[in-house]
């Protein structure tokens, strides 16, 4: 077997022109980590401001620009790409038993598009930012905003092509590059989740692209597209924006569900309960996700009839979501559970996603939504899904595949500590926001009535803990690159094809194309191949 992909050619040029999906994954990992840090700074400033009812450090205008920066950076430059472009890029070919993605050059192009879009957005943010919120609602964004709407919107437009390229690449790869014997129902559930995500990336992103292009056109030439004074309809913007952005919510959770399915099976040493239901629930979440966008507009002036229909479809989404949660629990039931760091993150995901999902039903109910909309209840709800869910899964996946990606083990005790701290800090930050919202504190204000202070201080304290907890993996991952124990090929005793090659893998992934003869998560077969007699624990290294 030849050298690992990391060191085969160490020049900068070889990295910047690489077509290797594993190296592109690392290029993406570096880029989105920078954006995650930047978005976190925005969050920190928001929480600092809200320590006191009258605000502490930011002017009202600056506060508006801060929460906009936080939203824009976190959604498009971190959450949407997060798992697909890092773990997905790294793992899709390995899990399929392939040498690379279907279109290696397109994959590299997607990274360059991503970087270019990121720079354009940063240019807008650092040359004054904008105060529209991440949703860019018109006519604020088209007529009244004094911020740098144009570069940011065009940056997000460009970002879309990066997403579409990744989606096309994954779909074609999963159809065309499965190893011999790798049937659809033998695919790891991560790949079903990424397939569903890719369908959304390919079909929803272009609608956002057109919406933002129309907005840019309106702002640039002062023509009426969405501007009511020029004959346009501002609500049409919301319809089109959410036609993308609600499915995009599932772009920001489905990959996490895929990661959790892998981790739960490995650390319970059991096949995922109800494999086919979990697989098809990903597809149905993606499909139903396209017909629920109107639930963002219950109070914006849509007809009661539309609202009832959108409410009903929104309830439907909870069915496949609940199937996943119950099947993960069914997998854990009777399993020999090991509580290593990835499993702690996965369990955190299940709990936090459940809270986020159930509170989503409050918001999908018309009468309750009238009371809760535009309050901190909404903020808490979607942070439970996106941060409690997706970011937990992202960290869980990074820990789980870190040995494979780098060839080094991370320090387990620190990993568990960080996972526990993230869970605690997260709940302290966002649970009070449910209560704040229920009591009527509106979102997106720089100040608030004094009676809300205690809960806001608790929330800000939680954010402080969360900040420390997010820095910890950065430190010990960095440490492990140089000092971590060498990772064996399959440190967790897991079943996927990615564990059948060396850690880190060679450039061509497999010395010879693997042949698949069993279902995913067949631990009996794993033991037979590796000669493990009992269903033993992990290699403790």
């Amino acid at each position: 077997m030849s050298e690992s992909y990391l060191w085969q050619d160490g020049t900068l040029r070889s990295w910047l022109l690489t077509r290797d999906h594993k190296r592109i994954a690392l290029l993406y990992l570096g880029s989105i980590t920078v954006f995650f840090a930047l978005g976190s700074v925005g969050a920190a400033l928001i929480r600092l401001q809200l320590l006191e009812p009258t605000g502490t450090i930011l002017s009202d205008a600056t506060y508006n620009r801060m929460f906009t920066m936080h939203g824009v950076v976190m959604v498009w430059l971190f959450l949407v790409p997060s798992i697909p472009v890092t773990l997905g890029n790294f793992l899709v070919p390995l899990m399929l038993g392939a040498r690379d993605l279907a279109f290696p050059r397109l994959n590299l192009l997607s990274w360059y598009l991503f970087v270019a879009s990121g720079l354009l957005v940063l240019y807008g943010l650092f040359r004054g930012g904008l105060e529209t919120g991440w949703t860019f609602y018109t006519p604020l964004s088209s007529d009244y905003s004094e911020g740098r709407v144009l570069p940011v919107v065009l940056g997000i437009f460009l970002n879309g092509f990066s997403s579409i390229a990744t989606g096309v690449n994954f779909i074609v790869s999963i159809h065309q590059l499965r190893a011999p014997g790798m049937t659809w129902y033998r695919l790891p559930l991560m790949l079903w989740a990424l397939y569903a995500t890719s369908v959304i990336l390919v079909l929803a992103t272009p609608v956002l692209g057109m919406t933002l292009l129309l907005l840019a056109f309106e702002r640039l030439f002062r023509v009426g597209v969405f501007d009511p004074t020029l004959g346009g309809d501002p609500l049409l913007f919301q319809q089109m924006f959410w036609f993308y952005s609600h499915p995009a919510v599932y772009i920001m959770i489905l990959p996490g569900m895929g990661v959790v399915s892998e981790i739960v099976s490995t650390f319970c040493r059991k096949p995922v309960f109800g494999y086919r239901f979990v697989a098809w629930s990903s597809i149905s979440i993606a499909a139903i996700g396209f017909i629920v966008w109107g639930h963002h507009m219950f109070v914006a002036g849509e007809s009661l009839y539309s609202a009832i229909v959108f409410s009903m479809f929104s309830f439907f989404v909870s069915v496949p979501s609940a199937i996943k949660v119950f099947n993960w629990l069914g997998t854990m039931h009777g399993g020999s559970i090991r509580l290593d760091a990835p499993m702690l993150y996965a369990m955190g995901f299940i709990g936090l996603f459940t809270v986020g999902g159930l509170t989503g039903l409050f918001l999908a109910s018309l009468a309750a939504d009238v009371h809760l909309t535009q309050t901190y209840f909404v903020v808490a709800h979607f942070h439970y899904i996106m941060v409690g869910g997706m970011v937990s899964a992202y960290f869980g996946g990074l820990h789980y595949w870190w040995p494979k990606i780098t060839g080094r083990m991370y320090p387990e005790i620190w990993g568990r500590l960080a996972a526990a701290l993230i869970f605690f800090g997260f709940n302290l930050t966002f649970f009070p926001q449910f209560i704040l919202g229920f009591e009527g504190m509106p979102r997106r204000y720089a100040t608030y009535p004094a009676q809300f202070q205690i809960l806001n201080v608790l929330s800000s304290a939680g954010a402080g803990i969360l900040a420390v907890a997010y820095v910890m993996p950065l430190v010990y991952f960095g440490w492990s690159l140089f000092r971590g124990a060498r990772a064996p090929d399959n440190p967790w005793g897991a079943t996927g094809l990615e564990w059948r090659t060396s850690s880190p893998p060679p450039t061509e992934n497999f010395a010879e194309t693997p042949v698949v003869t069993t279902d995913a998560y067949d631990y009996g077969d794993l033991d037979a191949r590796t000669g493990v007699a009992d269903a033993g624990g992990p290699h403790h290294v």
């Binding site: 096309v168 074609v172 590059l177 272009p206 023509v223 346009g232 309809d233 089109m240």
Partner: protein, 215 residues
């Protein structure tokens, strides 16, 4: 990928056919994405052509139907000519690919020239929305709205035409080097998919921008 009948060293595919099928699937997915990009535009046009019907129709009546109709014919013909390039490619007739490709690209260029003439007229008649917009009256706002979409849609379609002509010229260059054979002419097919798609978009834009509400 200068010689398409063999795989290059890093290819993730088993056979050239396997690679070519994947490439065609990739183009179809990209076109699905493009369809939704334009779909957003069509949706907004359709909404306004109904909710602001009077002024919208006023705008439609000021478009140049003659140029629009001629351009439609040119583009359909160009697509038809390109299918001859596809057929030539499959036979390995590289000269045929060049001939038909240049014909299709030439017709595409003619479309763009006519479109440019049309835009020139419209700019000189102050039909571009703004403070000096030519149309007046109670429905002028909706007419300006129509022209916003007219210019944006034709601009985006024009950009796709430019890309398409570039791709066809690239195919012609490859064909002149004798790249295609009965065993391998996939790029000719893939560019054909794209070129037909650009044609199809125009088939929807033409009624939306020139016909609906004109009578």
């Amino acid at each position: 990928m200068s010689d398409g009948s063999v795989l290059d060293h890093h290819s993730p595919y088993e056979t050239p056919l396997h690679r070519d099928e994947s490439a065609i699937a990739g183009m179809w997915l990209f076109l699905a994405s493009e369809a939704l990009l334009f779909g957003g535009l069509f949706l907004v046009c359709l909404v306004y052509s109904q909710t602001r019907a009077g002024g919208w129709a006023e705008g439609v009546r000021h478009t140049n139907l003659a140029i629009g109709a001629v351009n439609t014919l040119i583009l359909i013909t160009s697509s038809a000519v390109y299918t001859m390039a596809v057929e030539s490619g499959r036979r390995g007739d590289n000269r045929g690919v060049v001939r038909a490709g240049l014909g299709a690209a030439g017709l595409g260029l003619a479309f763009l020239v006519l479109k440019g003439v049309e835009w020139g007229q419209e700019f000189s008649e102050n039909l571009f929305p703004g403070p000096h917009f030519a149309l007046h009256g109670p429905e002028a706002g909706a007419a300006a709205l129509f022209y916003s979409f007219y210019f944006l849609a034709t601009f985006l379609h024009g950009m796709h035409m430019v890309v398409g002509i570039g791709l066809i010229l690239w195919i012609c260059r490859k064909a002149r080097q004798g790249a295609f054979s009965p065993a391998w002419s996939t790029p000719v097919d893939i560019v054909g998919l794209y070129w037909s798609f650009v044609d199809l978009i125009w088939m929807l834009l033409f009624p939306l921008l020139y016909l609906i509400g004109r009578a």
